[in-house]
């Protein structure tokens, strides 16, 4: 579904992605973790072309990202992306946020899109917030709207870029619960997060990155109980301590 083959990327002189090779199967849930600055956000942003890659191949849903022949707008419509900072449209209500892309990109009738949007917002526990503006919602609620916004496009893949990092602690679980339910429905997911509880629960694989490269990857069970490298051990001891 998503395949990196020898992908490299530089920011100026900084080599931020080093020879990444990674393959994600349909219905697979992969958690990417690693210290800050390890390139994990950059990696996930490459998948829908928010970042461009320098060399190597990146094939998503059978199409080559960055190839002039690939219509990125069409490809992005198939990929949901959840941002750390939510990025809800502040001038639109929760329901309008959810239905904007279905109406304009998928060309679905407004009434159909709104029905689907209401259903999804209800599913993420926001049945009473259809007409609320983002500024009237808590962080956790905003992030759930953002997830519903992606789901309303009926995407084939969902990408999550540190979806709970900007949240107050008491709001993290409400967002994770929604993500777990999405995973359990068989969505292909790539999730950058440090929430190891989430990884244990639904991830098939954990990928550990450091300094722009993939250091190790394995099942959550293996990774947490028997980390193979010093760097992953050091990382785990830091995040599990608190």
């Amino acid at each position: 579904m998503i395949e990196f083959r020898g992908v490299n990327k530089w920011f100026g002189a900084l080599h931020v992605l080093k020879d990444i090779t990674l393959s994600i199967e349909p219905r697979e849930v992969v958690v990417i973790c690693g210290p800050s600055g390890s390139g994990k956000s950059t990696l996930i942003r490459c998948v829908n072309g928010l970042e461009t890659t320098k060399d190597g191949d990146l094939i998503v849903d059978g199409q080559r990202v960055g190839d002039p022949a690939t219509n990125m707008t069409d490809l992005r419509a198939e990929i949901g992306f959840v941002f750390q900072s939510f990025n809800l449209y502040p001038h639109k209500t929760a329901l309008e946020n959810v239905t904007l892309a279905p109406i304009h990109v998928r060309k679905i009738a407004r009434s159909t899109a709104e029905a689907a949007g209401r259903e999804l917002l209800a599913r993420v526990g926001l049945a009473d917030k259809f007409n609320a503006y983002p500024s009237e919602l808590s962080g956790g609620q905003q992030q759930r709207v953002a997830i519903a916004r992606c789901l309303c496009m009926r995407p084939k893949i969902m990408l999550f870029d540190e979806p709970t990092s900007a949240l107050d602690p008491e709001m993290i679980s409400e967002v994770l619960d929604v993500m777990v339910s999405v995973a359990e429905e068989g969505m292909t997911m790539m999730v950058v997060t440090h929430e190891m509880g989430f990884a244990r629960k639904v991830a098939q694989r954990v990928v550990f990155m450091d300094a722009g490269g993939i250091v190790e990857s394995g099942t959550p069970e293996d990774f947490f109980s028997h980390p193979k490298t010093d760097r992953s051990r050091a990382f785990l001891s830091k995040i599990l301590r608190h």
Partner: protein
């Protein structure tokens, strides 16, 4: 003598109305034209075409760097030499619309640039086309940010319209100038002219302040 002056002023009442009408007509037409052109220029200015963006930037700089009076003289005296016949009213409209367009272009461009990058990324990520991104996501937010400075700019432009009296257009200021030749009381005459502008401009100033306050400045006013 005061009584005579008063009668003189009463007698100028129709002229004053005409002047006010001219100021309002000139401002209204120019502001509508200037806003439309300014928005278009602002969108193109922030677009991907570097060359067009530079050309617009250079033109805006030329207009912002020279006095409006000089611009009016240039348009009024030079366009006829290029074979374009125009009366003072048309010259005034052209000059004022151009001025409005340039300032509004910069306001709109600043508003567009102030829309957070994450908003564009969110729109990109959900597959919106460039046109849809601008229409649905960027412009509505840019508009909201541009509104207070836009209203403030309208006040400046209405006041700038007084400068067209220099090419003989009978606007409110010109009427004051004409009346003061007959009724030699400059304080009174131009105080009344001032009241005329005040009635038009002050509500807009209050509106701009209200909009600015409603934008919710992040930090409250400081009690010193």
């Amino acid at each position: 003598m005061i009584w005579q002056q008063f009668q003189g002023l009463i007698g100028s009442y129709p002229l004053a109305l005409r002047g006010l009408g001219m100021t309002v007509a000139l401002s209204l037409i120019s502001l509508v034209l200037g806003t439309l052109i300014g928005f278009a220029l602002g969108i193109v200015r922030t677009g991907s075409n570097q060359l067009i963006s530079r050309v617009i930037g250079a033109w805006v700089d030329l207009i912002r760097g020279t006095p409006f009076l000089v611009q009016i003289f240039l348009i009024f005296f030079i366009l006829p030499e290029l074979g374009i016949e125009l009366d003072a009213f048309t010259a005034g409209i052209i000059a004022l619309s151009n001025l409005a367009a340039c300032f509004i272009c910069e306001i709109v461009a600043a508003g567009i640039r102030a829309v957070p990058n994450g908003q564009v990324e969110a729109a990109l990520a959900s597959g919106l086309s460039r046109r849809q991104r601008i229409q649905q996501v960027v412009l509505p937010q840019a508009m909201r940010m541009s509104l207070p400075p836009l209203v403030g700019q309208y006040v400046l432009l209405i006041k700038d319209s007084s400068v067209v009296s220099a090419i003989g257009l009978t606007d409110l200021t010109r009427v004051g100038w004409l009346v003061v030749q007959r009724v030699p009381n400059g304080l009174l005459v131009f105080a009344i002219v001032g009241v005329g502008y005040f009635i038009v401009c002050y509500p807009l100033i209050l509106l701009a302040r209200k909009l600015e306050r409603r934008m919710g400045t992040a930090h409250g006013e400081v009690q010193l």
